[in-house]
Point group: C2
């Protein structure tokens, strides 16, 4: 069945679409009430609240799809604040012409990723606009953070070690090669990382800063953190993990992995004395096998990259358009 404008009118056609597709896949006691808002159990800790819209093109790609991305992106934003992600809303803007045979696996993938992350989809919305069969998804997320936890972009301290939780550039490379219709031996790294962060917290690691390395890549994220914390960041090029296929693509196209977006990688800052313990815990995680210590925090400002040849150069945040619609 193709989506038509009537599916967004809020009447019977909208209700049936929601009942057939969304309500079944996402079913839980809170969502099933189908009220204007989801009433949630009282929380003890600090609520943490975030939202992202997803416009990735193509909507399905090796390693994931827009639905998986929409769950991971918001779950990871909560995880980066040290919160346990609990609830998501899922709002869909469907374009006319979208086939429900395309939409259904995306919904199922959202539901499966939400189960893996341990979050419930408790409310949602469906709109339809004229278009060419695409869709946009917004997820808002609500998590709970134990009172006293203080993980923040402002907490980098001179002496901290910086860990990247895996290879850089995979998601960017996959979306780019899909768009160019060239094949690549790589998959998007799209993954929910909340269990990894919760494990570090549970083991008592003193996390100063956790940030997911999305649009703009490590270069942009490192610059933002250095500016917010008023410190200098030194990265070592040789230590930054990059998948061989992605490295090859970068060589051919003149791309740099530190400018490329990821959907399942974190940059973590921790006191030097806890770095090895943290690295071990991360490497033991399903999504952390390739983690590495890639740099450190110093007095000063800006971001520098020590190159393999022993030189060093300034790293700037992404300028210009990067890769449109990467997430």
């Amino acid at each position: 069945m193709k989506i038509e404008l009537r599916h967004g009118a809020g009447g019977e056609d909208t209700s049936r679409l929601i009942a057939d597709l969304f309500a079944q896949a996402f079913a839980n006691d809170i969502l099933n009430k189908m009220e204007d808002g989801a009433v949630l159990p009282v929380m003890q800790g600090n609520p943490v609240f975030t939202s992202d819209s997803f416009v990735v093109d193509p909507i399905t790609f090796p390693g994931g799809d827009i639905g998986k991305l929409a769950v991971c992106g918001t779950v990871n934003d909560l995880a980066c604040m040290g919160a346990k992600p609990l609830y998501l809303t899922a709002s869909f803007i469907l374009e006319t012409g979208l086939d429900t045979a395309v939409l259904e696996p995306i919904i199922k993938s959202m539901a499966a990723t939400a189960r893996e992350a341990g979050v419930q989809i408790v409310a949602g919305d469906t709109k339809v606009v004229e278009g060419k069969g695409g869709l946009f998804i917004n997820t808002a997320g609500l998590g709970e953070r134990a009172v006293g936890v203080d993980i923040s972009a402002a907490n980098l301290k001179p002496g901290d070690k910086l860990i990247v939780t895996g290879t850089l550039g995979d998601h960017h490379a996959v979306i780019l090669t899909q768009r160019l219709q060239i094949s690549l031996e790589a998959q998007s790294d799209c993954a929910p990382l909340n269990h990894m962060v919760q494990k570090l917290l549970a083991e008592g690691v003193n996390l100063h800063t956790v940030r997911d390395i999305t649009r703009g890549g490590l270069a942009t994220v490192a610059n933002e953190l250095a500016a917010t914390s008023k410190v200098k960041i030194l990265l070592e090029e040789e230590k930054i993990p990059v998948n061989e296929a992605v490295k090859g693509l970068c060589g051919i196209l003149g791309l740099e992995p530190i400018n490329m977006g990821n959907e399942g990688k974190l940059l973590i800052a921790i006191p030097a004395e806890e770095a090895e313990k943290a690295l071990e815990l991360i490497k033991a995680d399903k999504y952390g096998a390739e983690a590495a210590i890639v740099g450190e925090v110093m007095e000063g400002k800006g971001v520098r990259l020590q190159t393999a040849l022993g030189g060093s150069r300034r790293v700037l945040p992404l300028r210009g358009e990067g890769l449109p619609r990467i997430c």
Copy 2:
């Protein structure tokens, strides 16, 4: 300045757009931290969580714009659950070609409406897609409801009176006439109704059900409530308030106000003995002057409308496409 794809890449151009437009207009202590998620103060009551996307076309119309709508829609969803709306996220999907001179007043209108409603915009997201200068906005909302409050679509009781808080069809009529480029002496009713509901709760009115009468109109909302609460709803056509200009338009185009969407009207169910007190409180509110008791709840099922001529007919939920992109 026209929006280009580079404004959505997550690098410097995105940061500057956010700093210049969004961060200034929405500024508050939580948003200003610019973290991956907003860390909120501990809540005593039940968190209430909701989300809506807004795709209204045209994006500016008499009585409002997509920004005001995006705040009111989500604030009203929280109010309908008996929650005090506290925080919003605001996520923008901008189309290339959108002029920032068009976007800026929409942002300011969002900020002003948020101030009126008493909510803070604490997190957001900006994406850019190829298009013709339009935009979509998603707002997610978080409110707090006192433990023990129980307002629900399942709480209609036989004997309850039904109040509509003002004239029906205004928003629908305005969007329709804008689309048809005909003029109408009417304004969208787009308004935040949380203070009205909070006042009723503070005065101890026993609210059984509160629902905003949006897409699909009173006909659809009444049918949903009757089905959820397993009761029959009887509406009296003569008592339903309709603005004269809207009535005229309905006559010409063969529309029915009960099928038309609103953005600042509630349907409220309360025990008969509290109906007059509630009506008085609502009429004293800025957005409730035209409120009326329009019907009652009975044993049975479905929705019936008693017509001005003394007959009665079955009311069905909206079928087909209604008015596309009304909100």
